[in-house]
Amino acid sequence: MIAIKDLYFSYKKNQPLFQGLDLELQPGKIYGLLGKNGTGKSTLLKLINGVLFPNAGQVGVADYISKDRRPGMLEQIFFLSEEYHLPSLTPEDYVKAYSPFYPKFDRSKFEEIINIFEVPRGRKLSNLSLGQKKKSAIAFGLATNCKYLLFDEPTNGLDIPSKSQFRKVIATGFREDQVVIISTHQIRDLSNLIESVIIIEDGKIIFSKDVFEVEEKILFTKSLSSDAKSDCLYSEMVTGGYVHLLPNPEKEPSEVELEALFNAIIYNKELVQKLF
C-alpha cells in the first residue's frame, strides 16, 4: 500500500505545490493520475519513489518511509519518469547490469515484451529512437515484477500500435498485489486501462474514485446536439457530436469518458462531487 499523509511540498519558498495532501493507494488497482500542467503529478511520483523529500508529512510505501530510500523499498518500486536515462548498452547488457537489483526480475518476460514491441536487439539503447528507448524501459520495468509500478507519461513517444501493445501488456501482466500509477495527459490512450481516477488540483486531491463508481453515479451520453438536459453536469464537443455527463440514479451502464470526466471535475467540481 502507498500511504501519503498530510504532505507538504514546495520547490521554492512561498510557492507550495502540495498543502496537506492525503492519499491512500491500495494494491490490485491501476490508478490514473490526472491534473493540469504544473499541478505536481510527476512530483508526487518522485516523492513516492523517494527521490524528492517532503517538507512536512509522510510518504509511505509498504512498511517503508520513502525518503529513507531503503533497498527493501526500492526493489519493490519501478519508476519510469518522463525523462529517463538509458546507458550506451545493448538490451542484453542492460539487463545484465540492472536486473540483479530486482529479485523478481523475469528475463523471459523482458524478452517477450521486447519482442512484442519489436525493439531491435543488437543495437545500443542510446542509439535507438525515442519510442524504442521508451519501449525498452517499459519492458524492463514490467519484467522487474515490482509491486509498485510508477509511469510518468508512458505513452508519450509511442507509435499507435505500441500504445495498444502497452495497454495489452499492462493488462495481461497485472497482478492483484500490484499498484500501478500512470500519470498522463493522454487519457484516451489509457482509458480502458485505468481502474481508478485521481485528480490533483491546487496542491490537493480533488477527486479519487474507482471507474466503476463513476459509472454508477454518472451517465455518459452522446448526442449530435449541444442541447443538454437541465440536470446536465457537463457537456463538451467530441468528434461526431457532444458528450453529456448526467446524474445516473438508475445506474444505467455507459462507457466512462475520462477526458470529459476530468474536464467536468476541473470546471464543475462542486456539482460532480455532490454525486459521490
Partner: protein, 260 residues
C-alpha cells in the same frame, strides 16, 4: 544503515558493465602519462652527469596518484550530472551507504592499487627504455625512497577525503567547482595560519610584516614549544585518523539527503 555484500557486488558489476571502455581508456591513459612523466623527469639531469635525480620516481608516482586520483575522485559521481541519470542512480535498489561505499572503493583502495601496479611495472620499463634512448640513468625501483612514497600515500588519503565529499555536493561540473572551492579553502586556511603565526610569533613582527627570523616567542615555555613541534609533525596522521573518517561520515549523510 543497510549493507549487503551482494548488492555492493551488483553495484560494482553494473559500473563495470557500463564503464568498461572508460576503464580501459583510463588504464591506457595512466600508462601513457607514466611514460611521459618518466621522460620529462629526465630533464632534471644535472650538468656533467647522466644520473636522473632520485625524486624522479616520486614525481611520477605523486602525479599519477594525487593529480590523477583527484580528477577521478572529483568526477566519480557522474550520475549526478543530469536529472534523469540522478533519478536512476538514486532510485537504484541499493542503500545510500552501499552507493557511497562503492564509489569510495573505486577512488581510494582500487585506484591506489592500480597506480601502484602501473608504477611498479611502468617505471622500470619506461626508465630503462627512455634511459637507453636518451642516454641517462634513472634510479632503480629498489633504490627509491619508500618514506616519500608513504608521504604521497598519506597526502592522497587526506586530499581524497575532501574531494570525495565535495564531489557529492556538486552535481554539474564538479571538477572546476572543487578546484575553486579548494582555492578558497586554501586562502581561508592560509589566512588562519597567518593569523595564528602573527599571534604566536608576535615579537618577530613589525605591523603585518615579519621583522626577524621566525622563532617561537621567548614568552612561550620550552615544553609548549616541544609540544607544538610534535603536534605539527603528527597533525597529518591525527587528521588521517580522526578528520578523514569524519569527512567520510559527512559524505554518507550528504548522499542520504541527496535529492533529485
Amino acid at each position: 544503515m543497510d549493507f549487503s555484500i551482494t548488492r555492493l557486488f551488483n553495484l560494482i558489476k553494473k559500473d563495470f558493465i557500463i564503464s568498461r571502455k572508460f576503464l580501459l581508456l583510463l588504464i591506457v591513459s595512466l600508462v601513457a602519462v607514466c611514460a611521459l612523466l618518466v621522460f620529462f623527469t629526465s630533464d632534471g639531469v644535472p650538468m656533467n652527469s647522466n644520473q636522473v635525480p632520485p625524486d624522479a620516481g616520486e614525481i611520477v608516482f605523486g602525479v599519477l596518484l594525487i593529480i590523477g586520483g583527484s580528477v577521478i575522485t572529483a568526477t566519480i559521481f557522474r550520475e549526478f550530472r543530469n536529472p534523469p541519470e540522478r533519478l536512476k542512480f538514486l532510485s537504484l535498489p541499493a542503500s545510500n551507504f552501499e552507493k557511497v561505499f562503492s564509489k569510495w572503493l573505486y577512488t581510494l583502495p582500487f585506484y591506489f592499487l592500480v597506480v601502484c601496479v602501473i608504477f611498479i611495472v611502468g617505471y622500470p620499463l619506461f626508465s630503462s627504455l627512455i634511459g637507453s634512448w636518451i642516454d641517462v640513468e634513472y634510479v632503480h625501483l629498489q633504490e627509491l625512497r619508500p618514506k616519500y612514497f608513504g608521504y604521497l600515500g598519506l597526502s592522497y588519503f587526506l586530499i581524497h577525503s575532501g574531494i570525495f565529499m565535495f564531489s557529492l555536493f556538486y552535481n554539474r561540473f564538479p571538477l572546476p567547482k572543487i578546484i575553486v572551492t579548494g582555492f578558497f579553502l586554501a586562502i581561508a586556511g592560509f589566512a588562519v595560519i597567518a593569523l595564528l603565526t602573527r599571534i604566536i610569533f608576535y615579537d618577530h613582527f613589525q605591523g603585518f610584516f615579519r621583522g626577524t627570523e621566525l622563532m617561537f616567542s621567548k614568552q612561550l615555555s620550552n615544553d609548549f614549544q616541544i609540544w607544538m613541534e610534535m603536534f605539527l609533525v603528527k597533525l597529518p596522521y591525527r587528521f588521517a585518523m580522526i578528520g578523514v573518517p569524519f569527512i567520510w561520515l559527512i559524505s554518507y549523510f550528504k548522499m542520504k539527503e541527496k535529492e533529485l
